[in-house]
């Protein structure tokens, strides 16, 4: 099972690589909102969901693709952890 730090780091790397190439990594903090600021639009959200499912071997439902679960790195970590239990 991945540790919390692993989850955040892995997801952060993916987001920086896929959606924010060339951006300063230190600006993407665990509490940086991503869904409400347009970083994670619908297409990016679906790519992220596929990545999370493949990487952490979990299943994410359609109703979980929202601000509550995916807005920040902290939210994503919490979602992944809850799925891994």
């Amino acid at each position: 099972m991945s540790t919390p730090t692993d989850i955040t780091g892995t997801v952060k790397d993916f987001i920086l690589r896929e959606f924010l190439p060339g951006e300063d990594a230190s600006q993407l903090e665990v509490s940086t909102p991503m869904m409400t600021t347009g970083i994670l639009d619908s297409i990016a959200t679906l790519k992220l969901v596929s990545f999370l499912e493949d990487t952490f071997k979990i299943t994410i439902e359609a109703h979980e693709a929202d601000r509550e679960h995916l807005n920040t790195l902290a939210d994503i970590e919490q979602l992944v952890k809850s799925k891994q239990k």
């Binding site: 060339g22 300063d24 600006q27 600021t37 639009d41 619908s42 297409i43 969901v49």
Partner: protein, 859 residues
């Protein structure tokens, strides 16, 4: 007092003072209507209590405010508050919503609960459609007595939020009563039939997070921004918006294109105000619109405009489809989900119109608008998925090239959206094409200028306080900090103080008459425009769903119309005439329409039995006219024609018969047909034509319709005008109206001259009577003066009833808010004025004596 309490007290005092300032701003500009301003006052008081309440009591407090808001607004009846009305309307509304919440809370499986809710909603839909007779026998009779005036608000509260509520109920468990009631009865929905689709989960979570000083500051900033947008909307609507029927040249086309798009400011302005108020009551909800005029692509536009709607569709339609097609190729899944999402958006807009207006429209313009938008967004999405979209954390300065490209993209998107929006706002594709046929180089110049303005706005970086307002300022600031206070000054205090200062008499004097005029215009309480009044007056005649978007004051008027309200054309009282008039009253019929009896005699007149042979010693006045004269909406004995006949029947005076030949929608030329076909044999002594300010519009509309129907023209002059305007049977109605519109005065003059010829040929005195509409505004006065001049030129004796209604409020004389024809009291005032005018005129007095010689004009 410890430091925390002192800091909180300071934050509270600052916010309350700002909120009071914002309330004052709304008062100064008469924002929305009085009931809404009462609700804002309630929100100010609600904030003052909510601020100090422990979190566990806040949802209950919000529910209490929602109920008080309902009582405040639903108690209003004809300008006064009535406890009976409040109790009746709120009882029904809260009972229905409470019943649905109860069904959702039943201890049975989710799908059973959903089925029961669907059944109740189905029964409500039957009632909303005015088809109570379709209800199954098990529904008790008292249940059909839902007051019609609550439908738009009840529909607005349930039509989308109930779907979200059920969806979240399925996945997130059972919510409490306070959250459920507060969500479905959400303040200030009672004042806004068009309301943002707030997400249930977001609603609950946003309150649980607790209100912060910065959240309140953002709320106040959004309210002021909303007020500003609503004021711009008023300017666009009353000053710049051009009805498609009035577009005559290239400059008009440009004006139509841009002003139409700016009408959306009413939606975005009111949504800003609504969410701002909810923030003041402790819900840290996200923004509803994000600088959509500067969108740089169609997908960007879809993300920025009505964000709550986008989120609703994503949650209920897009993501469920995408997740189902997870294993399909990405492009296939994306195209399918996007197209279905837009189809749902189109269908749900019609569904929304059903709950708000009682009709489910399926219109070409909607299909074109949503179809084209779906196509553009789909192509754009696939392109972005393949090529990637530039996203940023906001810490990098864009290059000059990037800025210029952004400006060009924004200008291009704005231009295309304006075109699409104009289609959606027109009364059909024919109408839109006819408008666009007037486009020329002037249109191109104006369009280029507008796009340049958008380009400039798009390349200028937004000031930091504006960005802070969008994103939520300093999110961690629970109490006042220098940063949030500075933000509050820029976003709320400064603009509010400037706007309030502008509204004072002194500022009006300082800034000159032109600015003063604009300020007066935006200060005026919202009411239907001149164009809307035309629609209201012809309300009985044409299908009123042509009001287009449900975001105008006009559409709100129609929301109150009972679903079973009928037009005369929908009843046997009218039949096809087979000639230029298109329709005529159906002889020897009795029909009850909207509770009024229309008894048509054997000669096709709304009158009692009349022998063709004129009795000896009797004077006959043949009354011609349209709906006002026929007496649409009032009993036959209450029409001004009948009242004048009774008033003239004084002892010793000769018997005067006022024969009512008027038919709704008849133009001056139609009157010439009825004069020849019906009136002549009754040998009238006076032919009294009751004119209305809409004479010219009807003259154009009737002729366009007659040409379209292939009817024979009653005069070769009309054939000539049709040929000169290049209008034939194959010309669309919209194009024919637009082309003939330029000759409207000629058509009226032709009709008037022919009335005079025919009247004199039958030995009668031709009299023109101007019957004013209930709202005698400057445009109506100008039109009446033009008509008066034409009547005098034609040789008619002129009587003008302007001012007949005295100081009575138009609302007290109208048939209904959605029908501006005079009621019985309005007819009484018209009759008094006409009776007096007839007796004061020597020529008419002479004509009313038996066997009086026909007279010429008495100008």
């Amino acid at each position: 007092m410890d430091r925390l309490v002192r800091t909180q007290a300071f934050s509270f005092a600052v916010t309350l003072a700002q909120f009071a300032l914002v309330y004052w701003l709304m008062e100064r500009y008469n924002l929305e209507r009085e009931p809404f301003r009462n609700v804002v006052a309630l929100c100010v008081a609600g904030f003052a209590v909510n601020f100090w309440l422990p979190l566990r009591f806040r949802m209950w407090w919000f529910l209490a405010l929602c109920l008080i808001g309902l009582v405040l607004v639903f108690g209003m009846d004809k300008g006064a508050w009535s406890a009976d009305q409040a109790l009746r309307r709120c009882g029904w509304l809260v009972g229905i919503v409470g019943g649905i919440i109860g069904l959702c809370a039943l201890p049975i499986a989710f799908w059973w609960r959903t089925g029961l809710v669907a059944l109740v909603c189905g029964l409500l839909a039957v009632l909303r459609a005015g088809k109570a007779e379709w209800l199954p026998a098990f529904v008790p009779t008292w249940a059909v007595a839902v007051p019609p005036e609550i439908w738009p608000i009840l529909g607005s509260m349930l039509m989308f939020r109930l779907i979200v509520y059920l969806y979240d109920l399925r996945f997130s468990g059972r919510p409490g009563l306070a959250a459920s009631g507060g969500y479905l009865l959400m303040l200030p929905n009672v004042c806004f039939p068009l309301f943002p689709v707030v997400d249930f989960k977001t609603f609950v979570k946003s309150q649980q997070a607790g209100a912060t000083f910065s959240s309140y500051q953002v709320g106040l900033g959004w309210i002021v921004r909303g007020v500003f947008q609503l004021l711009i909307y008023r300017l666009a609507y009353y000053e710049f918006y051009l009805d498609p029927a009035r577009v005559a040249d290239g400059a008009d086309v440009a004006q139509f294109l841009f002003a139409t798009y700016f009408l959306y400011l009413r939606v975005s302005g009111s949504f800003h105000v609504i969410i701002g108020l909810l923030r003041m009551l402790g819900f840290a909800l996200p923004e509803t619109h994000h600088r959509y005029y500067l969108a740089t692509s169609f997908t960007d536009y879809w993300r920025r405009i009505n964000i709550y709607w986008k989120d609703f569709i994503m949650k209920l339609v897009y993501y469920p489809i995408m997740f189902r097609l997870k294993r399909a190729p990405q492009t296939t899944a994306m195209v399918t989900a996007t197209l279905v999402a837009f189809f749902a958006t189109w269908a749900l807009h019609s569904y929304q119109q059903f709950w708000l207006l009682g009709k489910f429209p399926i219109e070409t313009r909607d299909i074109v608008f949503w179809g084209v938008l779906a196509l553009f967004v789909t192509v754009n999405s696939v392109w972005e998925a393949r090529r990637g979209r530039k996203r940023t954390l906001g810490n990098k300065k864009p290059t000059v090239r990037e800025v210029v490209i952004r400006g060009l993209q924004a200008a291009g998107t704005f231009g295309l959206i304006c075109f699409l929006w104009s289609i959606w706002n027109s009364r059909g594709m024919d109408d839109w094409l006819a408008v666009m046929a007037n486009a020329d180089l002037t249109t191109a110049a104006y369009v280029a200028l507008a796009l340049l303005v958008i380009f400039i706005f798009a390349i200028i970086p937004a000031p930091s306080w504006l960005s802070a307002m969008d994103t939520g300022a300093d999110r961690n600031s629970v109490t006042a900090t220098p940063r949030t206070l500075r933000f509050g000054v820029f976003a709320t205090v400064l603009p509010a103080v400037i706007l309030i200062a502008l509204s004072t008499g002194k500022a009006e004097r300082l800034l000159g008459p032109q600015v003063a005029g604009l300020v007066r215009l935006v200060k005026a309480e919202e009411k239907p425009s001149e164009g809307d009044i035309e629609v209201l007056e012809r309300g009985y005649y044409e299908e009123l769903m042509d009001v287009g978007l449900v975001n105008s004051p006009l559409s709100e008027v129609f929301m109150k119309r009972p679903a079973d309200w009928k037009r005369l054309e929908q009843t046997p009282a009218l039949r096809l005439s087979g000639d230029y008039r298109f329709r005529e009253l159906n002889p020897s019929t009795e029909t009850v329409v909207n509770g009024i009896l229309y008894r048509i005699n054997e000669h096709g007149m709304r009158d009692g039995p009349v022998p063709i042979e004129k009795p000896a010693g009797t004077v006959r006045v043949a009354c011609l006219g349209a709906s006002f004269t026929m007496g649409w909406g009032v009993a036959a004995e209450d029409t001004f024609v009948e009242r004048v006949e009774r008033a003239l029947a004084t002892p010793g005076a000769p018997r005067v018969e006022m024969l009512n030949f008027a038919v709704n929608g008849y133009s001056p030329v139609c009157q010439t047909v009825i004069l020849e076909k019906s009136v002549a044999r009754f040998k009238p002594d006076v032919v009294l034509y009751a004119s209305h300010e809409s004479d010219q519009r009807w003259a154009v509309n009737r002729m366009a319709r007659a040409l379209r129907e292939g009817a024979e023209m009653p005069s070769p002059d009309l054939d000539r005008i049709a040929a000169e305007c290049d209008v034939s049977r194959s010309t669309s109605l919209a194009a024919a109206e637009r082309r003939l519109g330029k000759r409207g005065a000629d058509l009226v003059a032709l009709g008037y001259r022919r009335i005079v010829e025919l009247a004199r040929a039958m030995g009668a005195t031709p009299v023109w009577v101007y019957v004013p509409g209930l709202e005698e505004g400057p445009i109506a006065i100008q039109r009446s003066q033009q008509l008066r001049a034409l009547a005098a030129d034609a040789g008619m004796l002129v009587l003008d009833l302007s001012g007949a209604y005295g100081s009575a409020k138009p609302e007290s004389l109208e048939l209904a808010p959605w029908d501006r024809h005079p009621n019985a009291e309005g007819h009484r005032l018209l009759a008094d004025r006409l009776h007096r005018a007839m007796l004061e005129n020597e020529t008419i007095r002479a004509a009313l004596r038996p066997s009086a010689p026909p007279s010429g004009s008495d100008r």
